[in-house]
């Protein structure tokens, strides 16, 4: 198992490399640059800007510089400065030497910030929201799916699946404003927009205080976001469980006189979770790295919008940073999923 994980982590770097090359190539191939404005900037101003951000160098040099700044630890006797061009995610002092690692570069459109600032300040909020939405999705989706499968073709099944269809077909852009209008504007029970945590965060992503001031903001968005995912989980759980129940080993378990409850929990459920766990990987990665519409609807200062605005702004470092971050989350989530397979189905072995 250890060797398998190590191999997969090396594979992560290969994926990162390939994705970074493709992204870098594509974003420079698209017409338009970060400093193209409605009012064209004078040549001298463009030259100053290009020089500051090294956009005047050949593309290969730019790529090399980027990867060097991100991947290779820098050693220096100088303490980190407050320059935006010298902002590293990790700064460690060993004796007289500073080790600085991972400089994802400055943002071109937010002239006072770096990509690392976005990772430090906005990613934690998206992670909090995403984890809660995932929790909502599982808490609603799993029981609904199991109930529907066990009571197939009864009122429970139809009701559960209706809820699931509703969840899939009513997107956040509709559900969000409805929730805001009912609980925020009419009843005034919850604040319509905003988020109850701000930097600094515990362990890099948890809010410093978990009180009502945090929770009152964190009720509507995870429900609005998680409902759609819960529907997917419910339908998948139902389909998978229905299939497993018809397997021979379930008949065997029943034949040897096992209680129905034990048959379901020990034998059927565990095996039926494999497809559910499979989609949880990408779902997790997508939810925790930011969700554009939910964050915009509820005014949550997360990372979601950077995936979209960075591209329309041609904000190269932010495009690269957000994409690479997503890749890391996706690959690691899938690795966790693979490890879970081995636990859920003992027949799966990786060595």
């Amino acid at each position: 198992m250890g060797r398998y994980i190590a191999r997969r982590l090396i594979y992560l770097f290969v994926v990162l490399f390939v994705v970074s090359v493709i992204t870098f190539g594509l974003m420079h191939a698209v017409p338009g640059g970060p400093f193209d404005r409605e009012k064209k900037l004078p040549k001298e101003i463009m030259e100053n800007l290009n020089k500051r951000y090294h956009l005047d160098e050949p593309l290969v040099m730019q790529y090399g510089r980027y990867m060097y700044d991100v991947m290779i630890p820098h050693f220096s006797i100088k303490a980190p400065t407050s320059s935006l061009l010298d902002d590293h995610l990790f700064n460690v002092k060993v004796g007289p030497i500073w080790i600085k690692w991972m400089n994802f570069g400055p943002s071109y459109s937010s002239r006072s910030r770096t990509v690392n600032d976005i990772f430090r300040d906005q990613l934690p909020i998206s992670m909090q929201l995403g984890l809660m939405a995932l929790f909502v999705a599982l808490v609603i989706g799993l029981p609904l799916g199991i109930l529907a499968a066990l009571k197939q073709n009864t009122i429970f099944d139809y009701l559960g699946m209706s809820v699931a269809i509703f969840g899939v077909s009513v997107p956040v852009i509709v559900l969000g404003p409805i929730l805001i209008y009912i609980f925020g504007v009419s009843l005034k029970l919850l604040p319509p927009t905003g988020w109850g945590a701000k930097p600094p965060y515990v362990l890099g992503f948890l809010p410093a205080k978990l009180d009502w001031n945090f929770w009152k903001y964190a009720i509507m968005p995870p429900i609005a976001l998680g409902l759609g995912s819960s529907a997917i989980i419910a339908r998948l759980t139902r389909a998978s469980l229905l299939q497993v129940i018809r397997e021979d080993y379930i008949r065997t378990a029943r034949a040897k006189g096992l209680q129905e409850r034990l048959v379901i929990t020990r034998h059927a459920l565990k095996n039926s979770l494999i497809p559910v766990v499979t989609i949880l990987g990408p779902m997790f990665a997508a939810l925790v790295t930011g969700t554009f519409v939910t964050e915009l609807t509820f005014g949550i200062p997360g990372m979601g919008k950077y995936f979209v605005t960075s591209i329309t702004n041609r904000d190269y470092p932010v495009i690269m940073g957000t994409i690479l971050l997503y890749v890391v989350f996706l690959v690691i989530a899938n690795l966790v999923v693979d490890i879970l397979y081995a636990y859920l189905d003992p027949r799966i072995r990786y060595d």
Partner: protein, 603 residues
């Protein structure tokens, strides 16, 4: 009945949850009204009861629109959110009145202009100090000897030179580079000697600026945010201050001197400004009456929800809600439609097939029912544009004085012009191959579809609609592939007609680009080469008599929109806002730059 029962039980459940969380709720309230212990007890008993603001400081909540404010560094600011913070936290040598657009004194008490109109000598106020928020209150910044740091002419010189320095890579440095003597070379890195730039410190409170042209708008440019004083000790460091470099504008570091100063900037979420009690208060920039102003960074729709929930004091009205707001008795009383210094227009590529004939262009322009578009599609009380420079700008013609200038909706006239062209070319209207291009957006799409229909109805021409993503589009309309008809809008950088008609449409302007200035031929946009027009806008810029200037700009507009018909002006922007009745405010026409130091709250 059952439904009601369910709702009640839900409410009971909710109140139990609320009750469970009450210790925290009490804490929150305590932090708001620290002094009033007695009142907090009352609030504990009924958490949803009356807000306790009355006794506390006056606070205001406004919205700046989605996305983080790009920067609050005056050297780097380019957009309206950034400059909104700039004008509140700092003050330029002069200040534009946000309603009348007149140039008023700012940090300069008065200024004298040399006889050739090039050298301006500004006398600065000597009673303004740098301030910062220290975590509990606003304090004066002190120098290494412990004396308060005054805002001096040196700080202005440092600010101007920092904006111009090539390493700063400021977008808007071009305004100074264009206007100030020697600034272009310094900005382009041709010289590193700051003394070659036309900015000279005579003494601590006297600053001399030398300009390239004896232009009417020099005093305005001197008051722009790119020419604000900046704190050298904070940015570069000195004996008693740690250098903060690019990060000097962050919470805890920022220093300013305007009527407000930065209290907290939670990126992507909100900026809170706090009143600067050390701002002396002048006739044009009084001391602030509202103690704290919070700017949220919300999309228009959630911001409007916050307004309706009572958590926002003024906000824009989303297009989808305009009809409802107009019909609602409370909201309609809070509604205000105010002009904004922007113009929406369609440009014609005057070298492209079909639209290379001025009769076709003018016919297309005259066939647009602008009022109909505004009433049925835009709905925000916009004004139909007859020419390009929006009335209200210095030097721009106004509808009162020039009711018949430019283009108006005239379907018969349009048809006659087009028929003349068709007869000459021996064509029919449906044979004309025309394309209108715009950048991808549902708003532009709606406008384009409406105008496409007007052209079809009034002229019988079929115009194809094409859209492209914004940055791709910008490349397209500024190159040799410029389509026959394209759309853009223009908003002021400084409120003068020069910033509109000359900077956009004279050769090399953003709507008439010239990639290779040596050949003197335009490369896209309206593709217009008209010596008479060029001479007219140059003459207008130099004219110092306001009445004559307006006349010159009116003639230039006539050349642009009628004689050449190089553009079809469509509408002049307005802003649709709602403001709570207890807010006493002014409405800025400067595109988002609100003078909040003049506002008050009377509950």
């Amino acid at each position: 009945m059952r439904k009601l029962y369910l709702a009640i039980s839900l409410l009971v459940l909710a109140s139990m949850v609320l009750a469970a969380c009450q210790p925290q709720a009490v804490e929150v309230v305590k932090t708001v009204v620290v002094e009033k212990e007695g009142e907090t007890v009352v609030i504990t008993a009924t958490p949803e009861a009356a807000p306790a603001e009355e006794a506390g400081p006056k606070t205001l909540r406004l919205n700046l629109g989605p996305g983080d404010v790009p920067t609050i560094d005056p050297a780097l600011a380019t957009d309206t959110s950034s400059t909104q913070i700039n004008i509140l936290t700092m003050v330029g040598l002069t200040r534009q009145d946000e309603v009348t657009t007149e140039t008023k004194p700012g940090m300069a008490k008065e200024w004298t202009i040399s006889e050739d109109g090039l050298t301006y000598t500004f006398k600065l106020r000597d009673d303004v100090t740098w301030v910062k928020y220290d975590g509990t209150q606003v304090v004066q910044v002190t120098d290494c000897e412990g004396n308060p740091r005054k805002v001096t002419a040196n700080d202005f010189k440092y600010g101007i030179l920092r904006t111009l320095a090539p390493a700063t890579a400021s977008d808007y440095a071009y305004v100074l580079a264009f206007a100030l003597k020697g600034a272009a070379d310094y900005n382009a890195g041709k010289t590193e000697d700051p003394e070659t730039v036309g900015v000279k410190v005579i003494d601590d409170y006297t600053l001399e600026l030398t300009f390239n042209e004896p232009a009417a708008y020099n005093a305005q440019i001197a008051g722009m945010w790119v020419a604000y004083a900046q704190p050298s000790w904070l940015i570069d460091g000195d004996d008693c201050t740690e250098a903060r470099g690019d990060r000097w504008t962050e919470t805890g570091f920022f220093q300013g001197y305007g009527p407000y100063t930065l209290k907290e900037w939670v990126h992507d979420s909100y900026i809170t400004l706090i009143k600067n009690p050390f701002w002396p208060g002048t006739e044009d920039i009084p001391q602030a009456k509202i103690d704290e102003v919070t700017f949220t960074m919300l999309d228009e729709v959630p911001a409007f929800a916050e307004y309706e929930a009572g958590n926002m004091d003024a906000t824009g009205v989303p297009l989808a809600d305009i009809d409802r707001v107009k019909a609602d008795p409370t909201l309609s009383a809070e509604l205000e439609i105010a002009p904004v210094q922007c113009t929406y227009y369609y440009g014609f590529n005057t070298k492209a097939p079909v639209v290379d004939d001025v009769r076709v262009r003018l016919a297309l322009s005259k066939a647009i029912d602008r009022q109909g578009l505004i009433d049925n599609v835009l709905k925000g009380g916009q004004e139909p544009a007859q020419w390009f420079s929006r009335p209200g700008l210095a030097g721009a013609p106004t509808i009162d004085k020039f009711p018949d200038l430019g283009v108006k909706y005239d379907p018969e006239g349009a048809k006659a012009l087009l028929d003349e062209y068709l007869k000459e070319k021996n064509l029919t209207a449906d044979q004309l191959d025309l394309t209108l291009m715009f950048n991808t957006s549902s708003g532009h799409q709606k406008i384009a579809e409406a105008i496409q229909q007007m052209w079809k109805d009034n002229l019988g021409v079929n115009v194809k609609l094409v859209n492209q993503e914004w940055k791709v589009y910008l490349k397209t309309i500024k190159g040799k592939d410029t389509p026959q008809i394209w759309r853009l809008g223009w908003c002021q950088d400084y409120p003068d007609a020069n910033n509109f008609i000359r900077e956009v449409f004279s050769l090399g302007g953003s709507g008439n680009p010239d990639e290779d200035p040596k050949d003197g031929v335009p490369d896209g946009g309206i593709n217009l080469l008209d010596e008479a027009f060029e001479a007219k806008v140059r003459e207008a810029a130099r004219e110092l008599d306001p009445a004559k200037r307006v006349q010159l700009y009116a003639e230039a507009e006539d050349m642009l929109v009628v004689k050449n018909a190089a553009i079809a002006p469509i509408y002049w922007y307005t802003r649709v806002t709602v403001t709570k009745p207890y807010v006493q405010r002014t409405f800025s026409v400067l595109g988002g730059q609100e003078a909040i130091y003049k506002w008050d709250i009377k509950k």
